[in-house]
Symmetry: C2
Subunit: 307 residues, 2 copies
């Protein structure tokens, strides 16, 4: 059931209506790895950082069951850095700084111990690099899940489409689904995107939940109505980590189990947004997670009409 | 189980990305009445139009089981007219024309035959007029549901709050809930609004579904992902009509039955948006409605994890 995750490990500086942070640990693979680690360990990480990345943060990942053998540390280089500011409604954000640094010429190296990969999570990255990871695995994984974003649709659409064709599950948000398909209706968008290769499509709608499409089937998972949303950073990645973590741990890729994986991912994401950055993901209990998943069921449960 | 509906009966001229209409029948009470008529008949209407309102449209309402004894026709005056244009995403709209006409001095008259009212639906109108209807009923109805909008929060907040305090269920959209409460989080907003009088609160989120709040309970009904959304006009009113129609027909105001009413209202609204104006509401079958309600159940159904 080996799970391999590729993506960014980075510094983020965040500003929300509720406060701001200095440089804290961030990056897609960080959120995915931490989130998936609650379903199974180890989570085998493929990523790159500079020598400015604190050993304590690497230890933090390891303590949570993230195998960092595939984490390259580039001497004399700096880690990827992203800084962003959220609007008051937390639904849009402005990028203040993007410094690619080590990411500019990232060449993903897979340790031999990663070749047993059965579940592969491609976190948001250049589609060429995502594809390289698939190609560098001797055997095709049982399931490949890919996350991406509008940025690659803007500047590298052909490369993106080539990678999308190779994966089993694509995870994007509603605006990205519209952009990728040219269709406003998400149902029509999903039909087009499922024609591009993936057998499953997840459309993330943030505070409005997530849709899972497969053939002509649609499943909808609400987002939990929360009293406090503090910082949405990493919510989509945390969702993806929970999703593939559940699938890898149960080793069941039926549509029915994917529904449960969507609920689990949604539950993990609902924790993520309660605090800044990765903070809330660092010490969850199995009980807290199970209780939250139960809330998702209760939120939509309707008793059958009495006969 | 007598159901009384008050609201506007009007002319609308609509423009969406998919086309535009001349003056067609519209108004909150029209959509509410037509929608509720699929649950029970008659729906007793209280409204006012001018003598420009076609007899054929009044007949249309009557044929669908709407009792128009409480529909005043003002000789020499013109009907309320609203014209609006939707943005490309159909999520925002611009008002082009609002002519109050007969609505400016609407004095709602309740025929004696309406005094058996057990379920009262206050469609969007001046809160003073909504309140007058409650006061003119000799006996307080078993359930009063009120719909309103941000316009009254802007220009008549005190009047609005006085009326809100008198009702059992308030139905508003997410932005209105935020405005009314001053809280961004819908959970916090709901707590504040439930402190203003109503025992139940419905927050409509358009294509993102609807939330029902009661004490510390929350129920969420998704909106059905649709291939074609043609015209959102009247969707909220159609929802409200389906909601109170179901409650009146079943005469059960438990939280559990309110959930079913929300699903039924959502199903009715999902039909409404498929065509311009009231068109799709004019000839639905019980089978179509039941099939659509079933889709709502299937959309969120997850089988229990095998033990």
């Amino acid at each position: 059931m080996s799970l391999v995750v590729i993506g960014t490990v980075a510094f983020d500086a965040l500003e929300t209506p509720f406060g701001k942070t200095d440089k804290i640990i961030g990056g897609a693979a960080t959120y995915i790895g931490l989130s998936a680690s609650y379903s199974l360990k180890p989570v085998k990480l493929v990523a790159v950082v500079g020598d400015d990345f604190p050993q304590s943060d690497i230890l933090l990942l390891q303590e949570h069951g993230v195998d960092t053998e595939g984490l390259q540390i580039k001497e004399g280089e700096k880690s990827f850095f992203w800084s962003g500011k959220y609007a008051n409604d937390l639904n849009s954000r402005e990028t203040l700084v993007t410094e690619l640094n080590v990411l500019a010429d990232f060449d993903p190296v897979l340790p031999d111990s990663y070749q047993d990969c059965k579940y592969l999570m491609l976190g948001n990255l250049t589609p060429q690099i995502q594809r390289l990871v698939i190609q560098r695995l001797v055997n095709r994984p049982k399931l490949i899940v890919m996350d991406t974003m509008n940025f690659w649709m803007d500047i590298a659409l052909d490369e993106l489409l080539t990678t999308i064709e190779m994966v089993d599950v694509l995870s994007i948000n509603d605006e990205e689904a519209r952009q990728l398909s040219g269709e406003y209706s998400l149902v029509k968008a999903a039909k087009k995107i499922l024609g591009m290769g993936p057998k499953f499509l997840i459309i993330k709608k943030g505070e409005h939940g997530a849709l899972l499409f497969h053939k002509n089937q649609i499943f909808f998972a609400p987002a939990l109505p929360l009293e406090e949303v503090f910082d949405p950073t990493g919510a989509g990645d945390t969702f993806a980590g929970g999703f593939i973590g559940h699938l890898a741990a149960t080793d069941d890729i039926s549509f029915e189990n994917m529904k449960r994986a969507v609920i689990h991912g949604s539950a993990m994401a609902s924790f993520c947004v309660e605090k800044f950055g990765t903070e809330r993901l660092l010490n969850l209990t199995k009980e807290e997670i199970a209780a939250r998943e139960k809330q998702f069921g209760e939120l939509v449960r309707v008793e059958e009409t009495p006969a």
